[in-house]
């Protein structure tokens, strides 16, 4: 298992379009991905409703865990996407 922390920076948060992009990316990964937020919520980033209800607004600190054969690569892809959100 590999993990990394991240603070949501984009104004919309992980919602709507960013949420859609995260779910689509994670569903294409062979590994298990799990997110926990600083408010103690567990989010399944392969499920859009779970992501929407996660309340990951701007400033929220999240912890991303990836488990699987290509966990290093998958974590990098997830982090690159999170970093790319600007809207």
């Amino acid at each position: 298992m590999v993990s990394q922390d991240f603070t949501v920076k984009n104004p919309t948060g992980i919602h709507a379009r960013p949420a859609t992009m995260l779910v689509q990316l994670c569903n294409g990964l062979p590994d298990q991905v799990m997110i926990t937020t600083d408010k103690g919520k567990s989010v399944n980033p392969k499920n859009i409703l779970s992501v929407l209800m996660g309340g990951m607004s701007k400033g929220t600190q999240i912890h991303i865990e990836v488990t699987g054969e290509s966990e290093e690569d998958s974590l990098k892809l997830v982090m690159d996407l999170l970093e790319s959100f600007t809207e």
Partner: protein, 152 residues
């Protein structure tokens, strides 16, 4: 966050032939009440094609179409019941179809408010009493009553 529910943004019996028609009809609520610019509706339709907003919830399917803040004058959310379900694509899952029964179209001026609006609407439908009230509402007064009570 400002009050989300306004009486003039409530609509029932929307008889739409497809999702674009539904967006155009419900979007008129925003347009005629000055919430959005005349570019808003086309922008929502275009965005829906690329980033679908259908959501299949427990007991009801809805859609939450919206677009960028440059098309909006002041914030609001429509509460619109369709006369019959209309097919949208599911948010985050291209190809998955949703038979939406209600449209919560959003006019957003501050992106940081968007998350609160979406969570409020989704939160409502986790409440079975609220779900029943929305389902039972047969006219705009009843729908407004349910929306004001449960969404605020």
């Amino acid at each position: 966050m400002e009050q989300a529910i306004h009486r003039e943004l409530i609509m029932t019996g929307v008889d739409a032939k497809d999702y674009e028609d539904a967006i155009r009809q419900v979007g008129q609520l925003f347009l005629k009440n000055g919430y959005v610019k005349d570019t808003y509706i086309d922008a929502v339709v275009e965005r829906e094609k690329v980033f679908a907003t259908g959501l299949e919830l427990e007991g009801i399917s809805i859609a939450m179409p919206h677009t960028d803040i440059i098309h909006v004058n002041k914030p609001g959310v429509t509460v619109a019941k369709l006369a019959h379900p209309v097919e949208f694509e599911h948010m985050g899952e291209p190809g998955r179809k949703v038979q939406a029964e209600m449209l919560f179209m959003m006019a957003i001026t501050n992106p940081e408010d968007q998350i609160g609006t979406i969570m409020k609407v989704l939160g409502v439908f986790q409440n079975t009493e609220a779900l029943a009230a929305f389902k039972a509402a047969e006219n705009e007064d009843e729908l407004y009553e349910a929306a004001a009570k449960y969404i605020g």
